[in-house]
Amino acid sequence: MRPFDRRSFLKALGALSLPAWFPRLAFSTAPDGPGSAQRDLLVCVFQRGAADGLNTIVPVGDSAYYANRPTIGIAEPAGGGSGGGTNPAIDLDGFFALHPALAPLKPFYDGKALAAVHATGSPDPTHSHFQAMDYMERGTPGSQTISTGWINRHLQAAAAAGDGNVSPFRAVGFGTLLQASLRGPVPATALQSIADFHLRGNAGAVQTFQASLASLYADTTWLDAQGVETFNAISALAAANPLAYLPRNGAQYPDTDFGLALRQVAQLSRAGLGLEIACLDVGGWDTHHAEGGATGQLATLLGDLAAGLAAFATDMGGQMQHVVVVTMSEFGRRVLENASGGTDHGHGNSMLVLGGGVNGGKVYGTWPGLAPDQLSSPGDLQVTTDFRTVLAEIVDRRLLNSNLAAVFPGFQAPAYLGIVQPAG
């Protein structure tokens, strides 16, 4: 095994254009006095379908990578041994490199705001999308006895510790279905569109209508509670009136569902609605067929991911000091490509962590290697970092919740990787 939690290369920063909010330069991170620490906004991005982490954070320094991926492998960065191919990967540390479609994120890596973790994932060996997603969103790999999501348990624990935030927009899931990580006793709002989040009709009449409708949801049953949550969210949003919103710092969100959702995260965050958690989904990662290499299906997905995250970080500007974005997917993909030009279900994967409090510019984890005897069955990247180790560090240090036993029951986090700084 080759440890890679050290960078063998450092790119010259001068050659790259840094984001306007480049944190170490623009902001002091001197710790404030006790009690003044501010909890980060957590933006949790779930890549549904098992994203190919090996073609996201590419282990160009592992010769077995190219042997396993003769048609979909990403060329080494220029200057590497066999490098110089068209549209090569973008070097990170001499061993790992970014998929070229992630180029918009490179300045954040160089600016120390973006870190990656590799060979991470769930200790449970399932290759079922749905079981793996369940386990990851509940934060309880291998256990089906706990039905609440890990984020909801974090919200419960924070509330029990005296958190006074009862805003319906404390936790928001984007889409028509609420993410399983958000499900549980603490209300969370599912939202597609801020602009459309109101009862439609003539303004005056709709207000009276809402009052009458609310009276039909005034009992105490489960469905009444769903109704009440919805009325609360409608009212809170109307009071905040976040509609007039223009992204700042020249941020340009991609015109995709993901871009629109991230734009709305920024919008809600700016509206003073107490947003603490935002969950977003990006689908389409189940690339069994025609995955592509530097271009193609995966490249398009990664391009959307990168453009969205870069726009969001640019838009949030200095506020990124209090934001942490984490990406995850239920598992990675098989090391060896199949005959369809794609990859089957695998195990270990990569995650991205972006934010002002991130010890970025580094790929974290312990690289298990891609040689045949280094793989887990049936030919997958091993998991050397439990995804909960990454999340626990974020919950503890950036969300200021040390009750990890409540968030990840039964899990003893090993020493943190040091991906984030304690919130100042």
């Binding site: 549904r48 379908g49 290759h127 079922s128 999308h129 749905f130 079981q131 319906p168 899931g173 889409g175 028509t176 279905l177 609420l178 499900r183 969370a188 709002t189 599912a190 939202l191 597609q192 459309d196 989040f197 109101h198 009862l199 439609r200 009709g201 009449a205 709709v206 209508f209 009458s212 409708l213 009276s215 039909l216 949801y217 009992d219 105490t220 049953t221 489960w222 469905l223 009444d224 769903q226 109704g227 949550e229 919805t230 969210a233 409608i234 689908g283 389409g284 189940d286 069994h288 067929h289 490509e337 199949n338 005959a339 369809s340 030009g341 794609g342 089957d344 279900h345 069955s377 049936p378």
Partner: protein, 492 residues
């Protein structure tokens, strides 16, 4: 009282509704609607259709509990010629693959989604349509990618509709050889040179054995090899049809779930795998369990699932017989207000209850509304199909989007969808509230809720006073919306 209704249905009251919910294991999340129980006829019709209409209620009352179930389980005996005539507007439904593939993909996929909505609203074979919806999700194919913009139309016709109340093994075999499925789960490119596991894994986990059916990763790989060579004809007049390519099939011997699959059987290897899966007890339990979740509650009793699975096994996968077991059970009779209408069911039920007329663009309007509500047919990307649990759909976005649909329908503001809200002159607020609650819900209301509806219409006038026409015009859209948006309407 409905003749022939089981004792448990006849005895439904609000009080023992709570009890039945608890005994069905509905858990804390749902099961106690707190509402007066619907009449058994209304309940039965709501559960076997996409939502009650006066004509259905009359027919069910005439046929009785068992008679209505029996009628709906024999759809081939039900005249559906009016619907068939209306479906003439969608010529793509009957086209062969090569002809479909020559057409614009948007035209083809929109026609299928709109025809599905049309059928759900107007078919007399309502239970068949529910079964089609069930299998559409069980054998999910995302209709908005790759070849499936076109080929889902063929899958819908020749796989799902052809076998929705038939034999499960036939359905499974048809699905395995369906070009739409071969494209969706990538088996079309599964060759001996480098097997593609996608179909093999999902066929076992989702279509047959379930997650815990005993299959291993080794079985996934073996099954994938058995299906190598099952692909799609890409050229000529048979373009878009199933093709078995012996040149890309791995015809060596395989082992699946401990059973030998002999070498040299060609396509017979995949067929043997399907036969093993279709006849496996894990499949019976998995499919029966899902049907119970669809037709009874999110947490059906183990006894009911076992009974349905036993029928499945004893009849060799006769879906109609499994449905007889489920619909004939006491659990089914006692499951009022245990399942929420999902967006598709809520929208179709509203149009049916309103008896709304669809004009130009009406189906497109409804499809647009369903897209916003998150349940446009054939638009679920992962292979597990749209979820069928209360918890999945009851969230702020889901509540708001169904409320807004009610507002749009009440105002006749959905383009191409119009309902007749003519009322007798001089009607009072109480009369109007009762009249529309009866038409749209056909179930008793709590006094307080009835009072709220009356108060909305009366707007300060006495409940029994005849209302001026202008006030009726002003208040009727909101009354319709309040009823459609109320908790009463959200239950199947």
């Amino acid at each position: 009282m409905l003749e022939g209704a089981p004792a448990s249905a006849r005895g439904l009251t609000r009080r023992n509704l709570f009890t039945s919910g608890a005994s069905a294991g509905a858990g804390a999340a749902a099961g106690s609607s707190g509402l007066p129980a619907p009449d058994p006829t209304v309940y039965l019709v709501n559960r076997l259709t996409f939502g009650q209409q006066a004509a259905d209620l009359a027919r069910a009352a005439r046929l009785g509990w068992d008679g209505f179930i029996a009628e709906q389980l024999e759809p081939e005996q039900i005249d559906d010629s009016a619907l068939d005539a209306a479906l003439g507007a969608f010529p793509t439904l009957s086209m062969r693959p090569s002809r479909l593939l020559a057409m614009d993909k948007k035209t083809v996929s929109e026609a299928l989604a709109q025809a599905t909505i049309l059928r759900a609203i107007y078919s007399q074979r309502q239970l068949l349509e529910l079964m089609v919806d069930f299998w559409t999700n069980h054998f999910n194919v995302f209709g908005h990618e790759k070849l499936d913009f076109w080929l889902k139309t063929v899958d819908d016709r020749e796989v799902i509709r052809a076998h929705a109340l038939g034999n499960f093994g036939d359905l499974l075999r048809a699905s395995a050889a369906s070009p739409a499925m071969l494209s969706y789960l990538d088996n079309a490119s599964n060759t001996k040179r480098g097997p593609n596991e996608n179909y093999a894994r999902e066929m076992m986990e989702l279509h047959t054995l379930g997650l815990n059916g005993g299959q291993t990763q080794q079985d996934v790989e073996e099954v994938a090899r058995c299906f190598t060579g099952w692909t799609i004809q890409t050229t000529g007049p048979e373009r878009g049809t199933f093709r078995y390519n012996p040149d890309t099939h791995d015809d060596s011997a395989h082992v699946f779930l401990g059973q030998g699959i002999p070498a040299g059987r060609g396509m017979g290897q995949g067929l043997q795998v399907l036969a093993i899966c279709a006849g496996h007890p894990a499949t019976a339990a998995h499919v029966a369990g899902k049907l119970c979740v669809r037709f009874v509650s999110d947490n059906p009793s183990p006894a009911l699932v076992a009974a349905a699975a036993a029928t499945f096994s004893a009849t060799g996968g006769d879906i109609r017989q499994v449905m007889r077991t489920i619909l004939g059970s006491a659990d089914f009779a006692a499951a009022a207000d245990l399942k929420l209408r999902r967006p598709f069911e809520a929208a179709v039920a509203a149009v049916r209850a309103l008896d709304a007329q669809l004009g130009d663009g009406g189906l497109a309007s409804l499809a647009g509304a369903l897209r916003l509500m998150g349940q446009l047919p054939f638009n679920w990307q992962p292979p597990n199909g749209y979820p069928d649990s209360n918890a999945a759909w009851a969230n702020t976005n889901g509540m708001l989007s169904r409320w807004n649909l009610g507002l749009a329908l009440g105002a006749n503001a959905l383009a191409g969808v119009s309902a007749d809200f003519t009322v007798a002159p001089g009607a009072s607020a109480a009369q109007l509230a009762d009249q529309f609650a009866a038409r749209l819900l056909a179930r008793p209301l709590l006094a307080a809720d009835r009072g709220q509806l009356i108060a909305w219409v009366a707007a300060g006038r006495p409940p029994q006073a005849p209302l001026p026409a202008a006030q009726v015009r002003a208040k009727l859209p909101g009354l319709i919306a309040l009823i459609l948006d109320s908790p009463y309407f959200q239950w199947r």
